[in-house]
Amino acid sequence: MSELFDNLLLGFSVSAGPGNLLMCFLGVLLGTLVGVLPGLGPATTIALLLPLTFELDPTGALIMLAGIYYGAQYGGSTTAILVNMPGESSGVVTAIDGHQMARQGRAGAALAISAYGSFFAGCVATVFIAASAPALSELGLKFGPVENVSLMLLGMVAVVVMSKGSIVNSFAMIAIGLALGLVGTDVETSQARFTFGIDHLREGINFVPMAIGLFGVAEILRTLGAPDNRDILNNKLTGLLPTAADLKASAMPIIRGTALGSLLGILPGSGTLMASFSSYMLEKKLSKTPERFGHGAIEGVAAPESANNAASQTSFIPMLTLGLPSGSVTALMIGAMTIHGIAPGPQVMTQRPELFWGMICSMWIGNVMLLIINLPLIGVWVRVLRIPYRHLVPSIVLLCCIGAYSVGSSPFDVLLLMLFGVFGYVLSRLDCEPAPLLLAFIIGPMIEENFRRSMLISRGSPEIFVTHPISLALLLISAVLLIASLAPMVRRRRKEVFVEAE
């Protein structure tokens, strides 16, 4: 227990230093600013703002990125409530009752409850991470290359099973991501693979233009096709503070949402969507007046918002302790860590304790900032929401170009950005999710390295993966997950969840 206290103390001493505090503040502010823009979810926001963090030291960069993430998440809720245009899938649930509340003139209460709920969830999730991370990290340190391969395989299977849409499509995305990850010089033999004689590809496909293209540019191409039917409430926002009755009605949903969200967030895949959706359903079931849901019930905002925030925070657990990304956001964070020269994995906690605990504590500080920045600034966000698309599109395209170029000052990266943007648009038209692709692109080289080492240990026999007990257990879990998701009953239920969340 005292160890936990010491760790948190170290974390706060790092994250509360003036430099990192400023990074956290800037991250939350910029994250909210971009996240508020309709249609731009957290993954897009992080991809767009990633280049801003390159000049910083690794700790500051990760703290800022984490701040951007919460900011974007909260900005997305603001948009969901005010305009009924959620930037990401988990905001969809908030929009159901939140937007109804806004139409009844209670937008202020909905926004405030969402902020309070997120804050409470953030506090609990921070403690949850601090308490569970060391044990998981220790487990991770016992893993050799054999276990790592099986673990990464499990991670990918879980992402496929939990992502929305067709399982075959998601597997195809994984395969393409793995293939793209192969491009570049092979580490062991120094042979160039799939570079087609292009010098720029010798170091592999640059991760930043790829991420900005798949999320940012593709998103713009998609919104250009859709009509601009934003239904912004024109009446002035009044009554920012929820009434005592509102607070009383939301207290239990916030607590239940937090608990559910913290647990679901650890699972790979779209943990935040599952969390907000299932906590909404739970509240509807427990409510004495379920008919109010969908017509502006405050519980319908409080529960999913807390669950969503708790899950987005606990989704960092597999990334911080095992180096395993669990979705597009954590994949982006791992990409950022690699750019800063930190190899993600269980050793981060022991080798870079200041980074590890600093980031965890900055999560809590970020949540405090969300609360103090956002409630007074709601007026500003509403004005941002009113920027017409025709002014927004060129600004975002320029941001994408400058971001892609600034990584390596190479025009080739800007062309890559264009290619991946068009590719992402094609994918979205084919109902394929870019998240598994990005994830596989990040994990691919790690799997290959660990796979080769395992094969060296076993002298070329793949049997090694089933004779090591931990590895066998991980493989069995993957198999069970896969078979279960293909079973007709689960399949129907899964479809139901995602269709209702649409």
Binding site: L221, L398, P411, V414, R429, R452
Partner: protein, 123 residues
């Protein structure tokens, strides 16, 4: 375990999945045709060609101009190309928007963040 082992593994995986996706697409096609007695529509919403081409051209212009000409011409050209994706009241609005964004980008990224970009071409 040479450099080609893992790529081959992934190639087999890709090919297998491609066949699976193809088989599924053919099955759905014939199923809908049988059930609705019509040739299935290609896609629910039309592709926005104008927007896609305008944005693609904008990014390529940026890539082509940033090295030889600098940030100001590159952003001006890219922003103008982007405006072709949508409907504006007139060309003055497009020009004003492009000029504003170009100035803004120079101020934020070069003056503010200190990125080592050249602003104008050398004469």
């Amino acid at each position: 375990m040479g450099a080609g082992y893992f790529p081959r593994l992934i190639a087999v995986l890709c090919a297998g999945l491609a066949l699976l996706v193809l088989a599924r697409a053919i099955r759905t096609y014939f199923k809908t045709r049988r059930e609705t007695q019509q040739i299935p529509a290609e896609s629910p919403s039309p592709i926005n060609w104008r927007g896609t081409i305008a944005i693609t051209v904008a990014i390529v212009l940026f890539a082509a101009l940033i090295r030889p000409a600098g940030l100001v011409p590159a952003t001006l050209a890219a922003a103008l190309a982007c405006t072709l994706a949508q409907i504006y009241s007139n060309w003055i609005e497009r020009l004003v928007l492009a000029a504003t964004l170009s100035t803004g980008a120079s101020l934020i990224f070069v003056e503010g963040l200190g990125l080592p970009f050249q602003l104008f071409p050398d004469f």
